[in-house]
Amino acid sequence: MLELQGLTRRFGDLVAVDSVRLVIPDGQMVGVIGRSGAGKSTLLRMVNRLTEPSEGRVLHEGQDVTALRGTALRRWRTDCAMIFQQFNLVQRLDVLTNVLVGRLNHRPGLLGTVTSLLKMFTAEERAMAIRALDRFDLAASALQRADTLSGGQQQRVAICRALLQEPKVILADEPIASLDPRNARTVMDALRQVNREDGITVLTNLHHLDTARQYCDRIVAMQSGRVMFDGTPAELTGARLREIYGVSEDEFEDQASEDTTMRPRPVAARLAVA
């Protein structure tokens, strides 16, 4: 069970995320919707601590994740894989190595570290990567460079990387915002498959209500950092949506399309060293 308690993040005077409380049971697929700037990404990034919360706690199986440091934090990040809008693969490395990055924290001791740095992975680890790739029909591309793949393929490679972490939770930050409709479908299908077959909890940000309705067990709607709705897709009626955002469902979808074509997420100017 993943629990967010009063999670808040302020950037200067701006409250990006405002006392969010959520309880997510294991194996659920949750879609977080809202416009650009509603705080969806910040919320997700606080769960694996790529962004530090200003207030509040994140609990997983009763463990306070917000208090973790060093190797314990890295262990939590391994349990809680992340998928990014821009896939964040290493373009110049082959697909196989990109997927094996998911194993890095499963290689204990000095020997593990040294062999990792030399890119010396075992045959079992390579087989594991290939099996993951094969689930999404990508095994044949294993030795190609990541930048030779289409966006949809790259995102599925990123899902394979996440799977190799053997995570309990997957956080997907706008996984399909940079993809065309057909590729978006294959990626959402892949996430759904992972959620159903592997029992991994999926928490994903989405721009489109349609997608969230189609794929998620539960929808959380955010506006100005606050959770305005939390329930099943059926409960989020057009009337409810108008109450929250002041627009009809069609208008909401139009705005979402504009938002996604507008801009990719800004890149950090400096690596957060946590």
Binding site: R74, R77, F84, L89, L104, T113, S116, D147, Q165, L271
Partner: protein, 299 residues
């Protein structure tokens, strides 16, 4: 051709042309003024520097024939009729010189490889986008120190420490290269896309693993290119290290200068020139391949 006074008043086109012409004239006046002021300051600085640096035309005039004379003495006598013997006499030490040249190249090679390895390790903490400020500060200071001290000075110290011979030269080149390359490498890392780095961190990877898998693959072509450029420079540096007894061809060159064996000087310099040119061409070709291959893949 137009005189400004005439142009400003008499040009057709009305107010817009007149105003633009006035602005243009004002700007030209401003530029001429600043050109005069900066020009005068430049000449003044040049004059002062020559005075302090004892650059005088009279001494230059007196010294030039001496230099020409020196160069003239180093030119060997080569007669068409006995070209073979004359060349053989000129290049009498060829075997030893070629070995010494190989020595020189090996000193440069080993020094560059060791220096680049050390530079690579220090370049990650020195990259301001990747490391905490204290680490950036500390590693940059170390790199600065290493590249501020000239190779020749390091060589003097290491000859004192390790004795005469190539080891001192290798150490000197490695240390100076570490400083010079470390800074350049860090700048290459700073241009790396941070998104893959964040992905490695988000997968539970350590900082070191994020550098290895997120940054290094992106920086590699840049590092290779700078490394090859440094090797070129180091071959030239290594050729003078012998002067302080740190191995290579330099010692032989210095000896012939001290003993006034004029034709030997030109023979060694010619061989050195050929070697350095060959290395330069080789490195340039390799660098083109590294960069060219990269552009091809990016396309």
């Amino acid at each position: 051709m137009s005189t400004p006074a005439l142009a400003a008043g008499a040009l057709p086109g009305g107010e817009a042309v007149r105003a633009a012409e006035q602005a243009w004239l004002r700007r030209r006046r401003g530029r001429r003024l600043s050109f005069t002021v900066w020009g005068a300051l430049f000449l003044l600085a040049l004059g002062a520097a020559s005075e302090i640096g004892e650059v005088s035309l009279a001494r230059l005039a007196a010294g030039l024939p001496m230099a020409a004379d020196y160069i003239g003495r180093t030119i060997p006598t080569l007669r068409w009729a006995s070209l073979g013997e004359d060349l053989a006499e000129w290049m009498w030490g060829l075997d030893a010189w070629v070995l010494l040249l190989l020595d020189t190249i090996l000193i440069a090679y080993t020094g560059t490889v060791l220096g680049a390895a050390a530079a690579l390790l220090l370049s990650f903490p020195a990259a301001s986008t990747l490391a905490p400020r204290w680490a950036v500060g500390a590693s940059r200071r170390v790199l600065e120190l290493a590249r501020t001290v000239p190779t020749l000075v390091f060589a003097l110290i290491f000859v004192y420490a390790f004795g005469l011979g190539p080891l001192a030269g290798v150490m000197a080149i490695a240390l100076h290269s570490m400083g010079a390359l470390g800074k350049l490498f860090a700048e290459v890392h700073e241009n790396a896309d941070l998104r893959p780095v964040e992905a490695v961190r988000a997968a539970g990877g350590s900082w070191g693993e994020a550098m290895r898998f997120g940054v290094l693959p992106q920086s590699l072509p840049g590092l290779l290119s700078f490394g090859l450029l440094r090797f070129e420079i180091n071959v030239r540096e290594a050729s003078v290290l012998g002067i302080v007894g740190a191995g290579g061809i330099g010692e032989e060159l210095y000896l012939s200068v001290r003993q006034f064996s004029y034709p030997d000087i030109s023979a060694i310099l010619l061989l050195l020139l050929a070697t350095v040119t060959a290395i330069d061409l080789l490195c340039a070709a390799l660098r083109r391949r590294v960069i060219g291959a990269e552009n091809l893949r990016a396309a």
